[in-house]
Amino acid sequence: MAEGWLFDVTEGRDGTSVVLWLKDGARGTITRRAEPFLPPFWVDGARTDLTDLARELEKDPRVAEATFQVLRPSLYDRRPRRVLSVVTRRNPDRRRVATTIDARGGYTRFHLYDVDLTPPHLYHLEHQLYPFAPVRWDADTVAALEPAETIDYALPPIRAAELEVNLQGCRRDGLVRGTESISTVRVGNVILEGPEEALLRTVREEVVRQDPDVLLTEDGDGADIPWLYRRAQAVGFNETTFFLGREPARFQPSRAAFSYQTYGTIRHREAAFVLPGRFHLDTGNSFLWGDAELPGLIEAARLSRLSLQTVARQSPGTCFTAMEMAHAREEGVHIPWKKNRPEAWKSGRKLLDGDRGGVIFLPPVGVHDHVDEFDFASLYPHIMVRQNLSAETLDCRCCPNPRRRAPGLGYRSCDRRVGLIPRTLEPLLVRRLAYKARLRRPGLSPLEREILQRRVKMLKWILVTAFGYQGYRNARFGRIECHESINAYARELLAGLLHSAERSGYRVIHGIVDSLWVRPLDPTHPPDPERFAETMSREFDLPLGYEGRYRWIVFLPAVTHGLGVPNRYYGLYSTGEFKLRGIGSRRHDTPVVLRRFEGELLQLFGRARTADEFRASVPRALARADAFAEQIREGTWPREELLISRRIVQELGAYVTFSDSVAALRQLAHHGIARAPGETIRYLVADRTARSWRDRVVVAEALRGDEPYDPGAYLELLARSAETLLAPMGVRREALLARWGLSSDKERGPYRSPESLVQRRLDETMEGIA
C-alpha cells in the first residue's frame, strides 16, 4: 500500500488501457501504472431501431459488446429507459463506431452519449479520481483520499524546468525556414550546445537527469517542441530514442492548430504537443496561464477532472463544461455527443423582451470627482444559484406555480430539485469566498498569498464564463432561456439598486450590468459608502462590494457620435490605484511607444487630487505629447517600440483591400511564413503611402533595427492616443496633427508596382527621356 498523488492519466499506446502517473509521497518518484480501460458509449433511440442496431453491431469486428441497459441518459429524462451500451475493442475506434451508428440512423434516429469524452477523462469520472488527488494505491485499486471539492488541500511537490531551443543563425522571433540546425538548448539552468546529434542525445539525458514534472516553454507548441522533433528526425532519432515525456510519444501534435471564431473575433490556437507522464505547459499558448499560473491551473484541473496539459490549453468555458459533466455523471446523467436542444417557440414580442442584456447607462462625458463605485461580486453566478436557473429546471413540468419567475419574462424556476448549473456553481462560489476570506487573514506568507490569489483568479474566469455558456449554441447543458432569465433578474436588481442609491443620498452617474458609479447629492456630507454597501447586500441578499472612491474619473466619448461609451474610462482611486478600461494600454495591439505615452500621461494625472487639478494638468499633458511627437519626427525612436500588432481575420488571398496587414502578410509569405486567421502579425510602418508590399511595412521577423520608419504614421497614432485620453477636455486629433505640422489627410503614392518588370522598364524609359 503506497500513498502519494495521482498526477495524470494518459491514454495507453495499446488502445485498450489508460496509464496512471502516480507520484510516491515518500520517495518522490513517479510510478507508471497501466490499467485496462474500455469505456462504453451509449445509444438511445426507438426500441426497434436499437434492436436492429444491436444485431448489426454483433457483426462489427471493432465492437467488443453491445448490450442493453436501463438508465436515464439525458439530463431532461425523468424516467430510466432502455439504451444500448457499446464497447469497442480499442479506444481509438470509439468515435469511428459512433459515427457509423449515427450514419446508420440517418443522423437523426439515434442520440449518442459519452462519445467524445477522452478515455482519461472518463476514467477520472468513473473512478472518482481527479488530477493531483492525494491517493492510496495497492496492486488492485487506486483510491482518492479526499473529494475533489476539498478547499483546504495540500499541493503535491512539483519539479519544474524551463525548456528553450535556439536555432543556428536565427533570432527566436526572427525568420525561420525550418531547415536550420539547433544551436543551443536550455533545460532548467543548464545550457547545452554542441554538434546536433550529440546535443539532442544530451537534451534527452538532461531531461531524464533533472526529471521535471513540468516542462515550461514559451511558444513550445509553435516552436521549441516541433523544432526538437523535426531536427531529431533529421539526424536519425525516432520516437523511441528521443522523447521528452516519461515514455515515448509520437512526433506529431496531439491536436492540430486551428482558427476559430468567438464573440465576433477570429482566434487561433496552436497545435498541442503534450507529453506522457510529464506536463508540457506552453505559457504562450495558454489563455489562462497569465492569470492563473500553476496554482490556478491545478485548481481547475482538480475540479474539471481534465489533465493539467489540457486545462492549460483550453478556455475557461471548457473547464466549466467539464465541471458540469462531472456533476452530471455523479447524478448518473450521460454527456450528449451532439447537443440539439433548440430555443423554445415564442412570440416576437417575447423575444424582444427577452433577448437583451444587462442594464447599461451612458456615462456623462468628462472629468468627475467624488465618485463612488459599487459592484456586485459574481452577480450572474449568484443569480443562477439563487434562482435555480438551469436548462432542466427552467419551465419544468412539476412546478406550474413556483416561487420564482424571471421578471418580465415569466420563465419558471423549479422549486423541487436543484438544477445542474446551480449544483456546479455553488461550490465554486463558496471556494472563491473562502479563498478571499483567507487572503484577508493576517500572517499569510507571500507564497500562500500568491497561491490563493491565483486560485481566486482562476475561479473568477470560470464563473464569468458560466453565464456566457448559457447562451452558447454548442454548450452541452446550456439553454438560451436561462441566459435571458439571468439578464432579466440582473436588470431588475440594478434598477432596484439605482432607486435605493438615490434614496440614500446618491445620484447615479453610470452603471454597467453589475456595477454602479454614484456621486453624493451633497459632496460636503456624502453617505457612508461602506454602510450603504452593507445595507444593500442585506436588502438584495447579494454581496455588494464597495470598490472605492475616485479622486477623479474621466468618462470618454465615442469617436463617431460623441456620446459616452459605457466601458471606456480611466480614473484614480483615493488609494492611488488606477482603473483603466478601453484605452490603448488595455489593448493587445497598442505599440510600446503609445503605451509609454499613455503611461507618462497617467503618471502626470496621478498627481491630481480633484477634477479641477486634473484639468489644470492638461497643458502639461499636451507638452508631453509635443515632446513625443518631436522625437518620433526625428526618426530615432527605437524600432522595437514602434511595432504594431494586428490579429488577422482571414487568409491572405481573401483580402480585397491593400492595407498594412496585407503588406505584412505578403512579406511573410515571401519569406515562406504563412499566418492563419486569428494569428497576430507585428510590423513597423515604413511608408504608409506606398502601394508596394515591399516598401509599406517591415515585419518584426525581418526587423534589423535601423530601418527608416514613417513618422507621419506614428504621429497620427500618437494624436489618436492623445485624443482618446483628452477628448473630454476638447483635444482633437486634427488640431494636434496641425500643431505638429501634419495634415490629417494621407497622400497616397502614385499607382506603381516596383516589383513589376514592366513598371521598372517604364520607369527607366521615363528617366531616360528626362
Binding site: G106, Y107, T108, Y260, K338, P342, W345, G348
Partner: protein
C-alpha cells in the same frame, strides 16, 4: 399568355425542380397542380387539416401580388439576394398582421429583427405589439437544433394554428464544416425536406421557404420536399427589387419612390407581364463612411 421570358423562366423552373406537373400546359395556372412528383414519397397520414385562411391582405398591390403565390398545403420558395429577401420578409410580417394573420417562423439565419418589423407595421398603421405578437418563432443556432425544430414544427403548428409557416434560410446552418461534418449535411437536409413535406401535407397550411442560394443550396428539397406552389425570384435592380413568379411568368418591380411621385410606367403602354409597385423604402446605402478615408 405566357411571354417568351416567362416561358424560359418556367422551363428553368421545370428543369431545376424536376417537377413536371408544376408547369402549366398553357397560360398561367390558376390552381395548383396535383401532388404527383418524380420521386415516390413515403406515405403520409393526413390528419385533420387546419382551415385555410387569407395570408395577406389584397391591398396594397404588393401584398395582393405576394398573396397569390401562396396555396394551402403547398410551399412557395423565395430565392435570390438575401438582402432583398429579408426586407420583403419584414414587409410580409407586417402585411400578415394587417390581415390579422399569424405566422409560425423557423429562423435559420438569426436575422429576425423585431425593431425593423415593428417599423414596417407602423408604416402600415399598426401598433408594434400586435405585429410582433402575430409572429411565433424559434431560432436555430446549429444544424442539429434546426433539425429538432423542424421535427417539432408540426406539433407547434397544430398548437398555435398559424395562417402561414415560414422557414427562413433553413440550409444556412448546414454550410459550416467546422460545426457540421460535411457527410452529415445532405442526409440531414433531405430529412428536413421530408419533414417539411409532412408538415404542409399534414396541416394544409401554406409554407414560405426563403432560400437565397436556391435549390442547389437545399439538397432534397426538390425531390422530397413539399408540393410547390410557386418560385419567386428576387433580383435587385438599380431602381429597386424585381420579383419574378416562375409559375405565372409575371414580374413585379418594386421601385424606390417617394409618396406622391409618379413613374414613367404610368405613361407607357401596359405590360401584361410586369407590374410596377412604388415602394417608399429608403434607398440602399451606396457607400460607407470611413474615418480613415
Amino acid at each position: 399568355m405566357v411571354s417568351r421570358g416567362a416561358a424560359a423562366a418556367l422551363a428553368s423552373f421545370h428543369s431545376a425542380w424536376s417537377i413536371p406537373d408544376l408547369v402549366p400546359a398553357s397560360g398561367p395556372a390558376s390552381t395548383p397542380a396535383g401532388p404527383v412528383g418524380p420521386v415516390p414519397r413515403v406515405p403520409v397520414r393526413i390528419r385533420r387539416r387546419l382551415p385555410a385562411r387569407q395570408v395577406l391582405p389584397t391591398t396594397p398591390a404588393l401584398f395582393g401580388w405576394l398573396g397569390k403565390r401562396f396555396a394551402p398545403g403547398e410551399a412557395t420558395v423565395w430565392a435570390g439576394a438575401s438582402s432583398a429577401i429579408d426586407r420583403l420578409l419584414e414587409l410580409l410580417y407586417a402585411g400578415s398582421a394587417l390581415a390579422k394573420g399569424r405566422i409560425s417562423l423557423l429562423e435559420g439565419a438569426n436575422r429576425f429583427n423585431p425593431y425593423r418589423i415593428a417599423e414596417q407595421g407602423q408604416a402600415l398603421g399598426l401598433e408594434p405589439t400586435p405585429v410582433l405578437e402575430g409572429i411565433h418563432l424559434a431560432r436555430a443556432f446549429t444544424a442539429y437544433q434546426l433539425v429538432a425544430l423542424v421535427d417539432g414544427w408540426s406539433a407547434e403548428a397544430r398548437r398555435r394554428r398559424p395562417t402561414l409557416l415560414i422557414g427562413h434560410e433553413l440550409p444556412a446552418l448546414f454550410d459550416n464544416p467546422e460545426e457540421l461534418p460535411p457527410e452529415e449535411r445532405e442526409p440531414l437536409l433531405r430529412h428536413v425536406s421530408e419533414q417539411l413535406a409532412e408538415l404542409v401535407e399534414g396541416t394544409g397550411l401554406p409554407l414560405l421557404l426563403t432560400v437565397s442560394g436556391g435549390f442547389a443550396a437545399f439538397p432534397g428539397l426538390a425531390e422530397l420536399g413539399p408540393r410547390f406552389s410557386d418560385l419567386v425570384r428576387l433580383i435587385p435592380r438599380p431602381a429597386g427589387v424585381e420579383l419574378g413568379s416562375a409559375r405565372e411568368g409575371r414580374r413585379l418591380l418594386m421601385v424606390h419612390r417617394a409618396p406622391g411621385q409618379r413613374g414613367l410606367e404610368e405613361f407607357a403602354p401596359p405590360d401584361a407581364t410586369q407590374e410596377v409597385n412604388p415602394w417608399a423604402a429608403p434607398l440602399p446605402l451606396t457607400g460607407r463612411h470611413s474615418r480613415n478615408g
